[in-house]
C-alpha cells in the first residue's frame, strides 16, 4: 500500500532510531497528542525500541475519552425516546452513568453505527416520520463532515435531523496541560490529522509562549520515529518551534475548504472534557442560525452534571501525569470488558492501547 508500507519499513525506522540514540544526551519527556499515535507507538512496539531517556507521555487526543459522560447519558435518553441515534463505532461501548449506547441498543434502542454523518442524513431522508440524531463527537478532524451534514440537511429541508455536539479542540487542551505548574513535558508531537484540516499556524504562539518544540507528526512507525527525532534535535539545541514531519498530509494553512464549512456551522465555545473538566473556548458549538439542528436544544435535554466514576483516574491519564499501568485498577477491576472509564474502551484510549498491545513481558 503506497504511503503506508514505506512508513512501516524496518531498515528506515531503525536508521532513525539510531539517529535518535546518537542525538540524545539527557532524558526528555515528549507528549504525543493524539490517541492514534499512542496506539501506533504501542502496537508497533516502538516504545521499547526508543533510547531509555526518551519518555513518551500519552496525551488527551482521544475524542471518545474526553466526551463527557453526561453526553452519553443524553444520547441514551434520546434512544429511550425512540430517536434513531447514529454514532461512530468508538462511542458505543463507552460507559455512561447508567447504560452505554450498546446496552441501550440491547434494550430496544435504535442505534446505527456509521462511518460518515452524511449517512445519518440519508437515514433521516428515508425515515421522515422518525427523529434522527448524529452523535457529533471528535476533534477538528471530524468537524468538517459533521458540519457538512448540517448543511446537507438544511439544503434538503430535512426537519427530522439534528446533531448532539461534543466537539473539542487541540490547542486549548495543549495550553491547559502546559499551564499546569507540575507539567513536565519537554516537547510535543502534534496531531497530524487535526493539522491536515486546520494547518499549524495556530501552534506558533504556543511554541513561543511555552518555549516548547511542537513537531506535527504522522501515525506510522517511521513517522513517529522521525517526529521524535526532530523534537529531540530541537530540545538538544535548546530550540522551540513548530516543525512539520507529516508533509505528505499537512500544510501550514491546512484544508481551507474544510475550515470554511466548519466556521460556517460552528463557533468556538466552552467545553467540558471528561476527566479534565471545563476548558474555556475549547470546543465547537452550533452557531445561532443552526441551533435548530442542536439535538440538546430540540429535545430540551437537561445535563445532569458530572457523574464520573470516582475510581477512574482518566484525568491523570489524559494529561499524561500517570501511565495506564500506574492505575491500581488497570487490568484488574478495569478491563475493556468491564471498563471503569473511557480510556479503557476507546480504540484511541491509552489504557486500551496498553491493555491490548503492551507489556509483552
Amino acid at each position: 500500500m503506497k504511503y503506508l508500507t514505506e512508513y512501516r519499513n524496518l531498515e528506515a525506522t531503525q536508521k532513525v532510531l539510531e539517529q535518535i540514540q546518537k542525538a540524545v544526551t539527557r532524558p526528555w519527556n515528549i507528549m504525543e497528542i493524539c490517541g492514534g499515535q499512542t496506539h501506533s507507538l504501542v502496537r508497533n512496539g516502538l516504545l521499547d525500541l526508543l533510547p531509555e531517556g526518551i519518555q513518551m507521555i500519552h496525551g488527551p487526543g482521544c475524542p471518545v475519552c474526553v466526551t463527557p459522560m453526561e453526553l452519553i447519558d443524553l444520547a441514551v435518553t434520546l434512544m429511550e425516546r425512540g430517536v434513531i441515534l447514529c454514532s461512530f463505532g468508538d462511542m458505543v461501548r463507552v460507559p455512561g452513568s447508567g447504560l452505554s449506547l450498546q446496552e441501550a441498543k440491547s434494550k430496544g434502542g435504535d442505534l446505527r453505527i456509521l462511518y460518515s454523518p452524511l449517512e445519518a442524513v440519508r437515514i433521516a431522508r428515508e425515515n421522515p416520520e422518525r427523529e434522527v440524531v448524529f452523535f457529533a463527537v471528535g476533534f477538528e478532524t471530524t468537524a468538517p463532515a459533521n458540519a457538512l451534514s448540517v448543511l446537507q440537511a438544511e439544503k434538503e429541508g430535512l426537519s427530522n435531523y439534528s446533531i448532539l455536539v461534543s466537539h473539542v479542540l487541540v490547542p486549548p487542551a495543549m495550553e491547559g496541560i502546559l499551564g499546569d505548574p507540575f507539567c513536565a513535558i519537554d516537547g510535543f508531537l502534534g496531531a497530524g490529522h487535526v493539522c491536515a484540516i486546520m494547518g499549524y499556524s495556530q501552534y506558533h504562539p504556543i511554541a513561543a509562549k511555552y518555549k516548547i518544540p511542537i513537531v506535527i507528526t504522522g501515525f506510522e512507525p517511521l513517522d513517529l520515529a522521525e517526529g521524535i527525532y526532530k523534537a529531540v534535535l530541537q530540545l538538544e539545541k535548546g530550540e522551540y518551534r513548530v516543525e512539520n514531519q507529516y508533509k505528505r498530509a499537512v500544510t501550514e494553512a491546512g484544508n481551507l475548504a474544510a475550515q470554511k464549512v466548519i466556521h460556517q456551522v460552528f463557533e468556538i465555545g466552552d467545553r467540558q472534557w471528561r476527566g479534565i473538566g471545563s476548558i474555556p473556548n475549547s470546543g465547537y458549538v452550533l452557531r445561532p442560525q443552526y441551533r435548530g439542528y442542536d439535538a440538546a436544544e430540540r429535545f430540551q435535554l437537561e445535563e445532569k452534571g458530572d457523574t464520573e466514576n470516582g475510581e477512574c483516574m482518566a484525568g491523570a491519564i489524559l494529561t499524561g501525569q500517570k501511565k495506564p499501568h500506574e492505575c491500581p485498577h488497570f487490568g484488574k477491576k478495569c478491563t475493556p470488558r468491564n471498563p471503569l472509564g473511557a480510556p479503557m474502551v476507546s480504540s484511541e484510549g491509552a489504557c486500551a492501547a496498553y491493555y491490548h498491545f503492551a507489556s509483552t513481558t
Binding site: 500500500m1 503506508l4 512501516r8 519499513n9 524496518l10 525506522t13 531503525q14 492514534g36 504501542v42 502496537r43 508497533n44 512496539g45 516502538l46 516504545l47 521499547d48 525500541l49 475524542p63 471518545v64 461512530f88 463505532g89 468508538d90 462511542m91 458505543v92 461501548r93 450498546q102 446505527r112 453505527i113 456509521l114 462511518y115 449517512e119 463527537v137 471528535g138 476533534f139 478532524t141 471530524t142 490529522h193 512507525p221 517511521l222 478491563t335 475493556p336 470488558r337 480504540s347 484511541e348 491493555y355 491490548h356 498491545f357 503492551a358 507489556s359 509483552t360 513481558t361
Partner: protein, 341 residues
Amino acid sequence: MSPKPNLPDSIQLAHGSGGLMTRELLDEIVFTTFKNPYLEQKHDGAIVPLTGPVVISTDSFVVSPIFFRGGDIGELAVNGTVNDVAMCGGIPRYLSLGFIIEEGLLTTDFLKIVESIKRAADAAGVQVVTGDTKVVESGKGDKIFINTTGIGSPHPNGQIAMERIAEGDQILVSGPIAAHGMAILSEREGLEFESEIQSDTTNLNHLVDDLLKAFGGAIHLFRDPTRGGVSGVCSEIAQDSGRGVLLRETDFPIHHQVAAACEILGLDPLYVANEGILCAVVDGAVAPEVLAFMQAHPKGSGSACIGSIVPDHPGKVVMESSIGGKRIVTPLIGEQLPRIC
C-alpha cells in the same frame, strides 16, 4: 415470479405449519434437490451407517446480507460445519439442515440458497440426511437462519490434540486472511464501499484429509479462524496449551484490497473472520514439507508460516511488528468496531 408453479412467490407462515404447504415446499424444493436414500426413508430423522467413534459439530448461520460476493448463507452453512468436523481431525459424512425462515423471503431466493447448499455439500462429499423448516412472522427473523449439524468419523491418521503442541512447532495458515469478514462488511448498510473482495468460504475437509494422509501425527492441531479471526485461534492455542505463541506480522498472507479496506475502516485483519482457511500447528521438523504440500494443494495455494511455539511468555501471544518491535495480541473483546478517525 415463483420458480415452481405450485409455490407462491414468497414464503408464507403456513409453509412452516407442518401441513400441506410445508409438504409442498419440501417436495418441490428440498427433497428434489437433496434426493438420497436416507431422505427417502421419510422417517422423522435418518438412520445412517457409521461405525466406531463419531465426530459431531453444530453451527448456526445468521449472516447478513444472505448473498454476498464469493458466496451465500447456504454455502456458508455447509462449509462452516464441514470445516468444524474436519478441524477435529474428522471426516464429515452427513449433515442435518434446519431452516428458520422469515415470512416474505422470496421463493427464488430460498431455491437459490437450497441449490447452493446442494453444490457445497456435493463439493465437500457430504449428504444432507435430515432437516427441519420453520417460518416466523415478518420482523421476527432476518430473511433466513440456517442450522447445520455435521456427523463423521475420526480420520485414522489423526492425532489432533492441544496437549500435543510442543516448543518449536510452527503455525501455518492455508491462505490469505480476513477476506470473508471484509467481503461481508463491504456490503453492510452504512459501510458499503466499492471493492472486489470475495468471501473465502470453501470446504477444508479434503485439505485436512490429504494432510493427515501425508503427515499424520506430525500435525498437532487444526483450527479454522472464523469469528474472532487468527488472533482468536492463536490466543486459544496459547491459553489452552499454556505455551507461548510468537507471530510475525510481515509473514501474514493478505490480499492487497483486504489490507487496504482494513486500513481505511481502522480494523485489524487479525480479528476479522475467515471462512475458508485453517491454522495448522505442526511439528517444526517437518513444517517446511507440510507448507510446500499445502501450497501445492488447490485449497492451500496461499499458505504461509506465520509463527511458532516458543518457550517465552507462556500462555501469551506476542507479535513481532514490521519494524521489529513486539506487542501482545489479545483476543477480541466484544465486536470489532470501526474507528472514529
